[in-house]
């Protein structure tokens, strides 16, 4: 069965057809979520949420457009939402930490909770730059397709990708220099 037939079967209420969609996309989704969030627990939660959202909104999907773009749009939106929430939480946490500098135990527990998996080198990128980079490198997406996923123009997507690649290159070069000096 191809993707379209699977979607039509899902719309008729066949759970097994949706299982096949989950099987096709689960590793792709997990890889993107991990690269975006750098945390296994969050990535799993986001993947789960994304599949549920996909299933419940399947009737809104336009069968003429590619399913993977729609799927990645939902996934990246969820990731961006979580990153926004996390940023708010960390700014709040930072404030609290400043107030209670003596309490070191809370600091260690929070840092162990969000153990980063993605390399530090990606941390300098904005969330949208990360999405653009991941879709380009893992899925071979063009600027236009990236734009469709993150809901921006193709020129904006190309600029995001360019900036991400440039930042990564300069970081890599810096790390190489520091390694060779060290």
């Amino acid at each position: 069965m191809n993707e379209k037939q699977l979607i039509l079967s899902c719309l008729e209420g066949e759970a097994e057809a949706f299982k096949e969609i989950v099987d096709i996309y689960k590793t792709k989704a997990m890889a993107l979520a991990l690269n975006m969030l750098g945390n296994r627990e969050d990535a799993e939660d986001i993947c789960q949420e994304t599949f549920i959202r996909v299933y419940s909104n399947l009737d809104k999907f336009d069968l003429q457009s590619p399913f993977r773009n729609w799927f990645y749009a939902i996934l990246s939106n969820r990731c961006l939402d979580l990153l926004r929430k996390r940023r708010r939480f960390f700014s709040f946490f930072k404030k609290m930490k400043e107030e209670y500098t003596n309490n070191t135990s809370t600091q260690s527990s929070s840092s162990s909770r969000s153990q980063p998996l993605a390399p530090k080198i990606l941390e300098g990128l904005s969330p949208k730059e990360r999405v653009a980079l991941c879709l380009w490198a893992s899925e071979g997406y063009s600027g236009t397709e990236i734009g469709q996923v993150i809901k921006c123009s193709s020129s904006t997507a190309r600029v995001l990708l360019y900036k991400a690649r440039k930042k990564i290159k300069s970081k890599m070069e810096k790390e190489n220099v520091s390694l060779s000096n060290g």
Binding site: A15, K26, T27, E44, S56, C134, Y162, R165, K166
Partner: protein, 153 residues
């Protein structure tokens, strides 16, 4: 080289995406020297977590299935049938019509002038624009009422 520096300078000073994309299309994407400043596909791939490295997703479908069953149950509980809205609107309309009808049936409230329980009322009597002392007399076994007003000194 000078041209590359110029393009990169122009890229950095104007933050407009359309302008930046124009420079990308016109020069950066086709220039080998500028491309050297960008991470290649292979380099980027080596930094990212790949699909093959992602394991342990066997329990994802069971978790999703459980959630979907919960969602379906919730949906069934709160979902109105398609004609539910029509029935609701009809009931509302009937309630409004009945309300208006009952309101019209109810006898209207009486004004104080129409109230027969008090035969007559005198708020006050004024003599030469000043409130007067007022007395009411009703002789025994008579319906006659005498009003006596006296100038207030």
């Amino acid at each position: 080289m000078f041209r590359c520096q110029m393009v990169n300078f122009l890229f950095s000073i104007f933050p407009f995406k359309i302008w930046q994309d124009f420079l990308l299309q016109k020069h950066i994407q086709n220039c080998p020297a500028c491309q050297e400043n960008l991470a290649s596909l292979e380099e980027t791939e080596s930094l990212l977590i790949q699909e093959e490295e992602v394991g342990g997703l066997e329990d994802l479908w069971p978790k999703v299935k459980v959630q979907l069953t919960k969602e379906k149950r919730k949906e069934r509980l709160f979902r109105l049938p398609r004609w539910g809205w029509a029935v609701g609107a009809a009931f509302l309309l009937i309630a409004i019509v009945l309300g208006i009808w009952f309101y019209q049936l109810a006898p209207p409230g009486k004004t104080p002038e129409e109230d027969i329980t008090s035969p007559f009322q005198i708020k006050y009597i004024r003599i030469y624009d000043k409130p007067a002392r007022t007395y009411l007399f009703q002789p025994k076994d008579s319906n006659m009422i005498i009003i006596w007003a006296e100038k207030n000194i």
